[in-house]
Symmetry: C2
Subunit: 351 residues, 2 copies
């Protein structure tokens, strides 16, 4: 297969982890006789510094022309602590999601046999967890009108959803549940929010089209609790943008490390693959960041191109590195650890 992949490394540890995913993907291409054409493009703080814009038009053009996008991370503390900054790296991420039509973020949560005891949660609570959070990604309070009033003394953000936005996300959720254990949980705050009531009413109306799927409706506060208490209680979770942001980060503790969790953003022609962790600026440039989440995001990419063996080969080599302790310091528990680049080399060599 010939693949054209846009490579958006972004900020912080982004470039370092992306490098390893490229190494591993190239090893796969070599072994399975594919051709991957990588086109790097600027995004995030790196793009602001270079061209004053976190998601420049040229970058969008590169993404649109690609078969898929592999993305690192975005964000820089220089902007976080300056509430008055006019341009922010995160705007690039939001613009990218919107312009590429990536309305659903698929975040699987699972455990790794060799890491299960690293989780802050007890083994019996998490062993066998296999859930997917489907987060709406181009609506809600991320994209509603926001601003200031009263000379800057009042600030507002608008959380807004249309029935159509909810339907297309929920449809993916129902379809995904059908291929799995047929349980769908819609997470909202319908006891307070009007947008949540629209979610609930829309999903309720769709139930009849999927009679085999058992649907439950739970409040986001309760789910924030149950997700760590008994993650095996969930199969497919659908939820709006902000709730999904919070719950997916929370769910990463189940696997023992955020440094391991991949994601795919889907919705239109071009799909985007990215680790769920952020730009982790404290580690940038130190060659210590864990590249596995990005490598596993590349595996999701191969899977979506229907290259299942290739995807499995990546997951296998990741499991091997975990089992043999060929890992970065975040996973080494005081034992021997390896540099980001060393882990990437090792993975590529062992493909």
């Amino acid at each position: 297969m010939k693949l054209k992949i846009a490579l958006l490394a972004g900020d912080g540890i982004g470039p370092e982890v992306i490098d390893q995913a490229v190494k591993v993907s190239n090893a796969i291409a070599k072994k399975y006789n594919h051709e991957i054409n990588w086109t790097p493009a600027l995004t995030g703080a790196a793009a602001i510094d270079a061209v004053g814009e976190p998601y420049p038009d040229e970058t969008h053009a590169v993404c649109e022309a690609a078969d898929a996008v592999l993305f690192g991370a975005i964000g820089h503390p220089r902007f976080d602590n300056d509430p008055s900054a006019k341009v922010r790296p995160e705007q690039g991420l939001l613009k990218m999601r919107q312009k590429l039509g990536l309305f659903a973020n698929v975040r699987p949560t699972f455990t790794f046999p060799s890491l299960i005891d690293k989780s802050p949660l007890k083994r019996e609570r998490i062993e066998g967890t296999d859930l997917i959070i489907l987060r709406e990604l181009t609506g809600g309070v991320y994209f509603g009108e926001r601003g200031r009033k009263d000379n800057g003394n009042t600030a507002f953000d608008t959380m807004t959803y249309t029935r159509a936005e909810i339907q297309r996300l929920a449809k993916k959720g129902f379809e995904m549940a059908m291929t799995r254990s047929k349980r769908l949980c819609c997470v909202d705050k319908a006891n307070v929010l009007e947008s949540s009531r629209l979610w609930r009413e829309t999903v309720q109306a769709m139930e009849k089209d999927y009679p085999e799927v058992t649907v439950s409706y739970e409040f986001v506060d309760a789910v924030a609790m149950r997700l760590v208490q008994w993650p095996k209680g969930y199969d497919v979770i659908i939820t709006e943008n902000l709730f999904g942001d919070i719950l997916t980060d929370e769910a990463s503790v189940i696997s023992g490390s955020m440094g391991l969790m991949p994601s795919a953003s889907v919705g239109s022609k071009v799909r985007l693959y990215e680790p769920i962790h952020g730009s982790y600026p404290q580690a940038a440039g130190k060659d210590i960041a864990n590249p596995l989440a990005t490598v596993l995001s590349a595996a999701m990419m191969f899977e979506d191109f229907d290259l299942k063996e290739e995807a499995q080969a990546i997951r296998d080599v990741v499991n091997k590195s975990l089992a043999e302790g060929y890992v970065t310091e975040d996973l080494s528990e005081g034992g021997k650890s390896y540099k980001t680049s060393e882990v990437g080399d090792w993975l590529a060599k062992n493909i």
Copy 2:
């Protein structure tokens, strides 16, 4: 001391758990020579059924005339799954918070020595946890404008904050941090939300008035992860209404059971004490609900009346019941368990 307490039992298990808190408080009054005058009043679904309104004016008058309010729970599934319901029990809760000026909800999170192994989290992660989440309670998306457009096909909610609302909540946070280990964490989503940027800018400007307090700013998604990973990393957390709702429920897993976590809502003359759990309708009327969170909420009430010995006596008897296994079925782990009312009787007798 003479105390006039408004008693708002509310819905579901509310009346049952409130009964036990009353028994225990009366035992305290007897032992320490206080006089408690309880005035029951309607709220929630119970009030809707009786007078068509979840927080009737008469109830408000009872609260205003009291020295404090002891509150059970609000909410009924009959309304949850009817997105078109016009009046909802929760509106009563929100109205009560707003009309009583309860702008801050204080939710301590701690562990119980005898329960530590019941938590889904590992002992070494949670032992010694002692954090307080200070949740803003009368602003944000709970109180902003909401509604429908486009023939009901678009729904919106508005998250809005004024500088003054943030200041008064943050002031409490700084003051609380000063009496503790002087660490304050402001939780927001300032990389996306304008209201969060106002939070951050307001709290930043207040730092100079509390030079001894170390302030950190963290994003809500990251905190949802870190809170279960390493709760001992936090001392006082301040946050807006919705984030506080989610994070406090999540934090309850640290203690091993939501059935144990008390809270106080403060802000003006009359304070309100309530368990953080909800109305748990599945258990209503079965005499099986855990009354300890409500009993510990009563302890917070005595503490705030500066009756420290009394508050400690309640906490001691709760610890005793946990240590001796005189508990409801949610805590008995298949061993012998007791009814809600039996636990209340036992606690009162052992005061």
